[in-house]
């Protein structure tokens, strides 16, 4: 088995119009910029995107939104240092927003990956984000029922990958990547380095390869924060 492929373009080539795509990262850390830019080049539109944020500046997720490829965004915090792209699209009614508390977002994704269709959480009880949702009392405390969240594709940034798709991450760039890798039908990974089988200590594997479909090596991957400091625009 060898899940490695040659290019980011090839990796995203099967993503159709209308797909639901989870994109890893929290702000710029762990954001798979090269895969997102390949998705822009590929041209798929009417996407539903799941990410913690809504992009920053004019690269990565912000560029995908600026190119009008995103129909709906599911996120917890659609603000950033430079949120103009999303803000203008949202206020113009060009993009739908489903706002989800950050822990509920992470757990909905985890539940999607674990085959758990719904769960209860105290988060958002009594707030407008719980309106219309089923609530129940357990042991004297009130909880809100939340649904799982799954995707057709996940775009993931890893540090090391092997040909089976076993992954490690770098520092806080881990964030949503491992749970999104579990929750998508097709999980596409950009790894800073692809190593041979045995090149990752089994004790250090964070995402086991069963959750991974394709791996592309992207050495010297771009950091969204550095692109934005250089006022980069994509394409």
């Amino acid at each position: 088995m060898d899940k490695t492929i040659a290019s980011a373009a090839e990796a995203v080539s099967a993503i159709p119009d209308g797909a639901t795509v989870m994109i890893g990262g929290f702000g710029g850390s762990g954001a798979p910029i090269e895969l997102i830019h390949a998705l822009i080049d590929h041209g798929a539109k009417d996407l539903t995107v799941v990410n913690n944020n809504a992009g920053n500046g004019h690269v990565g997720l912000a560029a995908l939104i600026e190119q009008k490829r995103v129909r709906k965004l599911i996120c917890s915090f659609p603000r950033s240092a430079d949120p103009r792209v999303f803000t203008e699209a949202y206020l113009a009614g060009e993009i739908e927003l489903e706002l989800v508390p950050q822990g509920t977002l992470a757990e909905r994704i985890r539940a999607g990956g674990a085959g758990i269709p719904a769960f209860y959480t105290a988060t958002s009880y009594g707030t407008e984000l719980a309106e219309g949702k089923h609530t129940e009392e357990f042991d004297g405390k009130h909880y809100v029922r939340e649904r799982w969240l799954k995707a057709d594709f996940a775009l993931i940034k890893a540090e090391l990958a092997d040909p089976h798709g076993n992954l490690t991450y770098r520092m806080a760039a881990r964030n949503f990547n491992p749970v999104m890798a579990m929750a998508a039908t097709h999980t596409i990974v950009q790894a800073t380095r692809v190593v041979e089988l045995g090149g990752i200590d089994p004790e250090h594997v964070i995402t086991p390869g069963i959750f991974v479909s394709k791996v592309v090596e992207v050495p010297n991957a771009a950091q969204e924060e550095e692109l934005n400091r250089a006022e980069a625009v994509y394409p």
Partner: protein, 231 residues
């Protein structure tokens, strides 16, 4: 307000002093989450001999101070997207584990800012309800599940309106969740659906403080002087 009313801006605590006061209540070894912005200052004012372990939502426990400009590693950031550093004892983990720490009740203290706090402990701190782009982040998770939920805030709004109120008018972040409020004038607990005054700065009278508070301040036992160092 009458002409004899004290000029609040000249006597109130600074944000740093409010953060200092909150830091004095954090126990040694406590696991603590600090909200983005002014609550982050609490980390600087930990008392000698008491060391808290700080959690940040994007998957880091026990991180170090900000790096020098130019030495940032943008894979190593906090929930405010600011660069942090690692130190001996740092741990990284994914988002679902990070929020299991929050929602599973493993955090001892969450410290947040506020627009309004009701005497019932309801908190409004995520939406002004005036349109624009809504954003919630992890606040709703933190307030429902941390063992203690403390708020740092000016006692009144920029227009001089009370922020401690009978009931919130803005969209809620959580219901009955706040346990203690550190303001620019006082320390107030929320107990049994009431505000209980624990400390106030000496320069303001009880009646003046009550006039700046949107619900009754109860007094149970002594009200201590709230005295902070110049910072």
């Amino acid at each position: 307000m009458s002409e004899t009313m004290t000029d609040i801006d000249s006597i109130k605590l600074s944000n740093a002093q409010i953060a200092w006061r909150a830091a004095q209540d954090i126990e040694d070894g406590a696991y603590v989450n600090l909200g983005i912005g002014f609550p982050e200052m609490v980390a600087k004012f930990q008392p000698e001999g008491k060391q808290a372990i700080f959690h940040t939502e994007n998957g880091v426990l026990d991180f170090g101070e900000a790096p020098k400009p130019g030495e940032e590693d943008w894979d190593c950031i906090n929930a405010g997207k600011k660069a942090i550093t690692i130190k001996p004892g740092t741990a990284f983990f994914h988002h679902a584990d990070s929020f299991a720490m929050v929602r599973g009740g493993h955090l001892d203290v969450a410290i947040l800012g506020a627009y309004e706090i009701a005497q019932t402990g309801d908190l409004a701190n995520w939406s002004t309800g005036r349109g624009g782009v809504p954003a919630v982040g992890g606040a709703m998770d933190l307030v429902q599940s941390a063992k203690r939920v403390a708020v740092l805030t000016d006692h009144v709004t920029k227009k001089g309106e009370p922020k401690l109120v009978a009931s919130c008018t803005l969209p809620l972040t959580g219901v009955g969740c706040v346990t203690r409020i550190y303001t620019s004038l006082a320390v107030v607990d929320v107990e049994g659906g009431r505000f209980v005054l624990r400390e106030k700065i000496p320069a303001i009278s009880f009646d003046e403080l009550q006039a700046l508070t949107g619900a009754p301040l109860r007094v149970e036992g002594d009200v201590a002087d709230l005295i902070c160092p110049e910072l």
